[in-house]
Structure formats: C-alpha cells, structure tokens
C-alpha cells in the first residue's frame, strides 16, 4: 500500500514538473483565439510521457495504471488548465472496447489509442439522460447527428449511443466519412464539434438495456477522471485566491484579513478538498458494485467545487480577476465546460438517486 502511494505521488510530481515546463498561461491564452486548435506541445508531451497509454491494459501496449494513479496526473493537468481533451475522450473508447469490444477490435485499436496515434471521442448523450434522439443505427450504419462532442473536431474514432430499431445501441465507428461542424464555444480548446454521420459503417458493442448500462459505466469512468481534473483546477484557484488575499492590501491591511474574503477562501478550500476526496474514493471503487454511485458523487462534488472556486477566485481578485492576462477566465471557461460535457449536474443527481433507490429495494 505504502509503496503504491509513493509511486503515485512521484507520478503526480513528475507530471506537475513537466506541465510547468510545457504549459503556460500566455501559451493557452494565445490558443484561445483559434477555435478547434489543439495545444500541440501539451499533446506531444502527453504522448511522450505515456499518459495516453496510462489506462490501456499492458496486453494492448498500455501501461495498465489504475484510475486512481492516473487520476493524480489528471489532477495536475486540471491545475494547469492544460489544453487537449483527448485523455478523457479517448478513455471512453478504451473503456468501451475493454468492456464490450471484440478481441479483434481491441487489437486493432487499443495500441493506437495507447500511443496517441488514434484519438477517441464519445457521444453518449449522458446515458440518454440527455436523449438527443438525433442519431440512428440500422443495417450496420450510423446516420444522423451527434451534437456538441468534446474532441470531436480532432477525433478519429468514437463510441456513440444511438437509437436502433429495437432500442438503444452502443456502437463504435471510425470517423473518416463523418462531417464535423465545429462551433465557437467558451472553451475553444475542447475541440467541440457536431458530428454528422452520413450512413457511416459502425460496429455494435451492446444493445438494449445492456447498451445504456454500458454507456453509463463508460460515462461514470470518464466522470471520475474528469473529477480529478476539476478538483485540480479548484485546488489551483484556492492557492491563487490565497496568494492574492495575502498580498493585496485595502484599508491598510491584507484583504485576507477581512471576513468576507477569508470565509470565502475557507469555503473554496473545503469544496476543493471534498472534490478531491470524492474522486479518490470513486477511483478506489473501480470494479465494485457501487462504482457508479461513487462516480456520480465525485462528479457532483467536482462540478460544485470547480464552478464555485472559479467564480469566487475572480471575486477575490477584484478588477484584476476579469482581465484577459490574469487567465482566471481560463478556469471559468473550463469549469463551465467540464460541468456540462459529460452531462450536467441534474443528470448525475438522477443517476445518484437511482442507484440509491436501487440499493433500498
């Protein structure tokens, strides 16, 4: 146990150092002006460090890290608002293939996903909690539109939850023939795009109730990874708010001496630590029957923590907080985006309540 924890700590610290070298606020600000842009230095480093391979089993040329071990790295990525959503979006495809793919499909795609040569994305309509109903599956083909897919502007392959002839279908497709309609969003670095499928060949991973259950499991696993990222963002905001509150003076004393500010930062700290603890807990429950419940709790904590910290950190900074250069808006943009990408809080409240009700029955 002890040596495992030390190993995790070291992984996270190395990640932190690499990120500090490779990703700076001015850098990311410059990319914000280019919709659909990827921060290449980040993605190149992520591949070189083996982050794209982290969650792929060793049998398929991955590193086979646990969700918790890689979570520590995701935490550092979140702290830095690093740009390129692929670690989370590719993970959906990795997870779906491991759980539901044919052996031949795993061998075909997992090594390429591990090396980062192949980028994955997911359109799971938050397990139909956000039913889009705009994507159909029939005769081995996907037809229609998957709206607002993170990483969709760059992805090579996707798992989607579509409407089949007799209920939902979880399908996997290469995106070569797909048309991408990129749109400006508040966080252009997410590469969000509508994917338009003109009768694209796709393989079935699961059907019917099994398909929605599989989609929810994939979403839950993504949510945990994302929660680490959100918790990392929140932690950075707590530190920045604290540093500013100690340095900035008004009425002859540091503003941190005023209750209005100090209580705010204490609240931020509490929320960010809860988000981190909930993420760690969920990661430890991987494979357990209550994993989905723990993931939903982590997601809800993380949404609240990151949103609140982003907003309050701007407030603590006064006028400086709303400048372009401060980069605090990068966190605001990312917090809002991550709060929605895998389905908003209301969907996860439903998921959590449904798992609790099922337990009571």
């Amino acid at each position: 146990m002890v040596s495992l924890d030390l190993e995790r700590l070291e992984l996270a610290q190395n990640a932190r150092r690499s990120l500090e070298r490779t990703v700076s606020t001015p850098d990311i600000l410059a990319h914000l002006g280019t919709p659909g842009a990827v921060h290449e230095p980040f993605w190149t480093m992520a591949r070189a460090q083996g982050w794209s391979a982290a969650l792929v089993p060793e049998a398929y040329e991955g590193l086979g890290l646990s969700l918790g071990a890689f979570g520590g790295i995701a935490f550092e990525i979140g702290r830095r608002v690093a740009g390129a959503p692929f670690l989370t979006t590719s993970y959906a495809v990795i997870r779906a293939l491991i759980g539901h793919g044919r052996e031949s499909d795993r061998q075909r795609w997992l090594p390429a996903l591990a090396s980062g040569a192949l980028i994955g994305s997911a359109a799971l309509g938050a397990g139909h909690g956000l039913a889009h109903g705009s994507l159909r599956f029939s005769g081995g083909r996907l037809d229609g539109i998957a709206p607002g897919v993170a990483g969709g502007a760059q992805a090579d392959i996707a798992v989607v939850l579509a409407d089949g002839e007799d209920g939902p279908v979880l399908a996997i497709a290469e995106l070569g023939p797909v048309r991408r309609r990129r749109f400006d969003s508040i966080d252009t670095l997410r590469g969000t795009a509508d994917l338009i499928f003109p009768e694209v060949a796709a393989g079935v991973l699961a059907r019917g109730r099994e398909a929605t259950e599989a989609a929810l499991d994939v979403l839950a696993a993504q949510a945990v990874l994302c929660a680490f990222e959100q918790a990392g963002g929140a932690a950075d905001l707590v530190e920045r708010a604290r540093d500013h509150a100690c340095a900035r003076k008004a009425f002859g004393q540091p503003i941190g001496a005023f209750q209005g500010i100090k209580h705010k930062i204490a609240t931020m700290y509490g929320l960010s630590e809860l988000a981190r603890a909930a993420s760690e807990h969920a990661a430890l429950r991987e494979g357990a029957p209550d994993f989905r419940q723990a993931a939903a709790a982590a997601r809800l904590q993380a949404i609240e923590a990151y949103d609140t910290c982003a907003r309050e950190c701007v407030q603590v900074h006064g006028g400086t907080g709303v400048t372009w250069e401060s980069g605090l808006h990068l966190h605001l943009r990312r917090a809002r985006t991550l709060a929605i990408e895998l389905g908003p809080a209301i969907v996860w409240e439903d998921i959590l309540i449904n798992t609790l009700l099922a337990e009571g029955r």
């Binding site: 607002g148 400006d184 508040i186 008004a250 006064g318 006028g319 709060a339 929605i340």
Partner: protein
C-alpha cells in the same frame, strides 16, 4: 391606465419603430467602431424623440420626469438591445454629477445635451492600482499651480476612457490631511496634454476598460466640482447614483442572455455560449 403606463406604451411604440435600424439584430457582426457609431446615432434619435435624459432637469436639457419613467423606458429599451453600453458610465454618473455640481450652468447644459445626443462621452476616473474598494486611498496628485492645478498619477479600470472626451476625477490635493479629507473632485479634458490612455483587454477579449496616466496635466480651478478637500462627498454622491444604476442597467435580469450572445461576436475568442452552456447548470 396610469400616466407611467401610457408613457411606457409610447416608449414601446417608438422603440419598435427604430428596431430595424438600432435593434440587436442590426448590430450582429459589427466591429466595435461601427457599433459605437451606431450607438451615437441611436442616442441622437432617442434625444430627438424626447427620450434623452428622462430624469434630468429641464433646465440642463433633460425631460424633468421621474426615476420611475426612466426605469419604464429602460425596461423596454433593454428588449431592443441597442448599442448603449459605451454611454452607460457617461450618462450614468459623470453627466448627472456635472448637471448637479458645475457652477457654470450654461456650460453644464451644453455638455449635458452633447452627451445625451451621443456626441460627447464622459468617463469616471476614480479607481487606481492601490485604491479600489478603498476609494479614499486615491493617490493621483492635484498640486496648486498659481490659482489653478496640475494633476499627476495613474487611474485604472476606467471604462471606455479610449472613447471619452471628458472625465470626472477624484484626486489627492492634501497628502497631509486624513485620507478622506484630502481629496478634491475635478472634471478634466481627456484630450489635454499629458493624458495617456491605454486600453486593457478583459476576459471577454474586449477592451472595455483602460489605464489612464496623468503627467503634469493642467486643470483650471473652474474645473473643480467640489470644495477643496471636499471631494469625497461628491464621490459618494457619484457612487450613490451608481449603486442604484447597477440594478437597472442593461444586462441585468432576464435579458442578459441575449446580451451575452451579442457580445460574443463571430470570430471573437469570447465565443458564443454553446447551446448547452446557455441552458445547463
């Protein structure tokens, strides 16, 4: 029907008649300079239609009506979404303060009408790097120069200073007096020698505020809007207006979403809110 309701109906009818020219849809895709020019044209039309300076005294060129009339008009105007944002500070605080505190009444009337018609813009030069919430901490120096004054120092976060013709300024005239007793309130010409304006980029990628530097800028004693050392009370009068204004400003309440959409013009990194971002929580 009450008198205010009748007034509001009249406002609605006029606003509907100018919607094609000045409404939110007409602004889409405009560059900021074009949007500002459209704003000036809108203010002029508004003034000529009798809806400029609704609650300002008739004596200075206003309509002499109540704050309730003004609110009624603004609630209708917000729905139209015309480019009034550049004039929000100007007509909000500095102009009413000038109408109230300037001793040269003919001059005050001239300035007020020019501002109401969108021909001139005023900014509010209060905040500084070391004086935000703690406004009485302002350091910008006002030094006597014969009967007149010289200003030196820096202001920060001054909204729309880059488009402003005039500004109201809170300055420290007596560094030895207690903090809020040593201040004097002036108006100044933004084109005067020694004034430098540097726009600041904000999180929405627009340059809505500026840094303003004063380097030994000449200001006549007739430009004083308070007693010497009595600047803080005029500053408080200014902020009392601002306090109520923020509750009625365009962008407050239900209309703010369409306002945000408009601000994120195509090609701007501020971006349009994504469909989900606008509705999700």
């Amino acid at each position: 029907m009450s008198e205010v309701e009748t007034y509001r109906d009249r406002a609605r009818a006029w606003l509907a008649s100018v919607e094609p020219r000045f409404g939110a849809a007409a602004r889409l895709g405009l560059r900021e300079d074009e949007d500002l020019a459209l704003g000036r044209a809108y203010l002029r039309a508004r003034y000529e239609a009798g809806f400029g300076g609704i609650d300002l005294p008739v004596e200075v060129g206003g309509q002499g009506l109540s704050a309730v009339h003004k609110r009624a008009f603004e609630l209708e105007e917000i729905a139209l979404g015309p480019p009034t944002v550049y004039f929000g500070i100007s007509l909000g605080m500095p102009v009413p303060i000038v109408t109230r505190f300037a001793s040269d009444r003919a001059w005050a009337r001239e300035r007020t009408i020019a501002a109401l018609r969108g021909e001139e813009i005023w900014c509010q030069l209060f905040s500084e790097p070391a004086a935000g919430s703690d406004l009485a901490g302002v350091r910008l120096k006002a030094k006597r120069h014969g009967a007149d004054w010289r200003l030196s120092g820096q202001k920060l976060w001054t909204s729309w200073a880059q488009y402003s013709d005039y500004g109201v300024i809170l300055a420290r005239s007596d560094p030895s007096a207690p903090k809020n007793k040593g201040l004097t309130y002036f108006w100044g010409d933004m084109r005067a020698r020694g004034v430098t304006v540097r726009p600041i980029r904000l999180a929405n990628a627009h340059h809505d505020v500026c840094e303003v530097f004063f380097d030994d800028v000449e200001v006549g004693d007739h430009q004083r809007l308070s007693e010497v050392g009595g600047g803080f009370s005029v500053a408080m009068a200014t902020l009392m207006i601002e306090r109520y204004l923020s509750r009625t400003a365009p962008g407050s309440g239900r209309r703010s979403i369409s306002f945000c959409r408009l601000r994120g013009r195509p090609g701007s990194p501020a971006g349009r809110p994504s469909r989900t971002a606008a509705s999700g929580r």
